[in-house]
């Protein structure tokens, strides 16, 4: 079975899917990613599907699962590089890719993750201020 490599770039894990994945390879990637998120403490995952010429219901479900799993592990997932024909087909197939953030390319994906983290910091700051006011 082939394995999809996971690269660490700064605070982000980058997965570039370059092979036509068997279902088993897709499930393995899901497990490998969960482990790497915890092992590296990364807060962002970018999945580059530029090379994929199809996304069927199995891969779609895997992408949704990865997004949910990483969310629980305090990481944001962004899927980047979807081909137009793949997007058209996904919609007709009936897959909505719920809960998945997408961006056109890796660069925009990184911006999206950075912005999401910044928002969280703001919210955390806001909560702290509120508590201070309440106790004083």
């Amino acid at each position: 079975m082939e394995r999809v490599p996971i690269l660490k770039i700064g605070d982000i894990l980058l997965v570039s899917i370059q092979v036509d994945m068997s279902d088993q390879t897709a499930v393995q990637l899901q497990e490998d990613l969960a482990e790497r998120i915890v092992a590296t403490g990364s807060h962002g995952v970018i999945i580059d599907i530029t090379a994929l010429d199809i996304v069927d219901s199995f891969v779609g479900r895997m992408l949704s699962a990865i997004a949910s799993i990483s969310k629980v592990l305090d990481a944001e997932t962004v899927v980047v590089g979807m081909r137009p024909a793949v997007a058209i087909t996904l919609v007709e197939l009936g897959l909505s890719l719920n809960g998945i953030r997408t961006a056109l390319n890796v660069e925009r994906g990184m911006e999206l993750i950075a912005a999401a983290r910044a928002d969280e910091w703001h919210e955390a700051d806001g909560d702290e201020d509120a508590e201070t006011t309440a106790t004083s």
Binding site: F58, L93, L95
Partner: protein, 139 residues
Amino acid sequence: MTAGIDLGMPATQAIRSDEDVVRVRQLVRTTAVAAKLSLVDQTKLVTAASELARNTLIYGGGGAAEVTTIDDGLRRGIRIVFTDQGPGIPDLDLALTDGYTTGGGLGLGLSGARRLVDDFDIRTGVGEGTRVTVTKWSR
């Protein structure tokens, strides 16, 4: 059902494992490119084939896909026949409903594949296996 004459011999791919589902996708893609289907139509057909090949493996217990280039005098098309000797589908209407699954998937395989092709035919009976025929025509 599918009109038109066969151009050349069908190519057959056995479906016995996960890796065979990948091989079905590759065979369908190569055939669709050779028949000059548009990129979107190639993508739709390969996606439909992937769903149906997975069904053949998971629900049918394995089987085969037969891919043929056909011609109806006006346009070319690709016909794929998926066969298995599995348990068959007891309630076909239910199996063709979006979101219905007995296998823990999303329930989009059969219904989604039907939307992605031009012609869709399914023959099944309890204990008699299942035969799904799909065709995609060039535009």
